[in-house]
Symmetry: C2
Subunit: 267 residues, 2 copies
């Protein structure tokens, strides 16, 4: 997978390396969208070569107590490696999607314009990621280590609750945020008058929900007009994101966090 399209900003940033599972958007996609929106180059290590994939899995070796550069081992992927930004000019490795988003948000000017906005952006992104996690748990309510088919009965129950209670609760909340920020954000931004990583994160969660629960989302859209008529289309038209989302670098949803099991969707 190639780096973001040429942008003058790219030269002023370190050579960021996204470390994530190959072949699926997954939680790595939240990080990719930030780079693409900022027009900043990055390596998508596991998607670029088999050796890259190997190096990513070596990083989360369950025996590791850290790397030679003094970084602690990540608990799970995604992780971000930033050559030159660690101790004594070594590489820095950080992990956990919200921590990576917070770090990049600050560096790439996607975290709001002051300290208050910065905290709100983090809060809203965390809320969107909670929705992401709940969507995942609809097909794995009992054991992440087991097959969907082995927990399908529970998945049917969990998905019903998710569709009937959790989706409207979260979507109504984001609609309220957009309404409350309409004067500055014009329905297009959750916080202030410019794009933040809260917007890109929410956008991707919504795109995943459209894939996993197409009937449910179709039926619900009319209840959240700002979210679906203004915010969602506006974000995907943003410079950088538009080019990325229409490129073959944007990986399709398949069997990751978002899965389309028709029996889990509305009838």
């Amino acid at each position: 997978m190639a780096a973001a399209s040429g942008n003058k900003k790219a030269r002023t940033h370190p050579p960021y390396e996204l470390l994530y599972h190959p072949g699926i958007p997954g939680r790595g996609e939240f990080i990719r969208l930030v780079f693409e929106a900022a027009g900043v180059s990055y390596k998508d290590v596991a998607n670029e070569s088999d050796e890259g994939t190997k190096s990513v899995y070596a990083l989360v070796d369950p025996a590791s107590t850290g790397d030679k550069d003094g970084n602690p081992p990540p608990f799970a992927l995604p992780a971000l490696r930033i050559p030159g930004e660690g101790k004594n000019g070594n590489a820095l490795v950080i992990y956990q999607t919200p921590a990576i988003l917070a770090h990049l948000g600050d560096k790439l000017h996607l975290a709001g314009s002051d300290e208050a906005q910065r905290a709100w952006v983090m809060g809203h992104a965390l809320t969107a990621l909670d929705l992401n996690n709940e969507a995942h748990d609809t097909h794995h309510p009992i054991a992440v280590s087991d097959y969907y088919e082995a927990q399908k009965e529970e998945a049917l129950k969990k998905a019903k609750v998710f569709r009937e209670q959790r989706i409207p609760k979260f979507l109504a909340y984001f609609e309220r945020l957009l309404t409350g920020n309409r004067e500055q954000g014009d329905g297009k931004y959750l916080v202030g008058n410019q794009l933040t990583y809260a917007d890109t994160t929410l956008w991707h969660v919504l795109s995943g929900l459209h894939f996993a629960f197409p009937k449910e989302m179709e039926a619900r859209q009319k209840d959240y007009p700002t979210l679906f008529q203004t915010f969602y289309p506006a974000i995907q038209e943003i410079n950088g994101l538009k080019e990325y989302l229409t490129s073959d670098r944007r990986g399709p949803f398949s069997m990751g966090v978002y899965r389309h099991y028709p029996e889990l969707d509305r009838e």
Copy 2:
């Protein structure tokens, strides 16, 4: 509930207000521990008066699009209100446990000593909070809105997986972090050579697991000697935390995130 014990630092900080459900430690406890460890005063609003409780629930009114001070509505509790720190001298309100911890960690010097440590502290705290959330889901695997008894069959399955797979995976990870940081942290700190909010957060999760799964934790402790023989006892002896944890301000676990259902524990 009274404020933290008198400390000279308290006078240099704004009058922090923790907004959380009354009567349970819950996710509010992660915020309390940071204040107590820093020796900084705070109001525990819902625990101080019925009016306080009312004001907390007004904040998360599902019709709210924000408050008169220009703050967006929190999705859920806990939230933190900081009079004087918002726009035009108004109050600032932020929400989401990790966002509040990150904000306070910076202000109260509990977020590590440089940018790398700051990112690691956030990553480790998020991982401990993931474990917290998984512990919650053992008794509510299907619907957070329904009773435990209505989802007990699924809870038994989920708790088995949690005890046999997830607890050892997380505990082994934190043992590895402590081992990898032994030179600086001496087994007492996850990052660097001083207390951070990652430590207080992990400590509280472990204390909750001891309450909810006493047999499982008893059987597992010997496998993680640094975590249980060094880290856990060291954190609860820290100035501020020791006084708090032995006071009646430390609320007991009961029917919140951590619940002791013997049938969910090891036999």
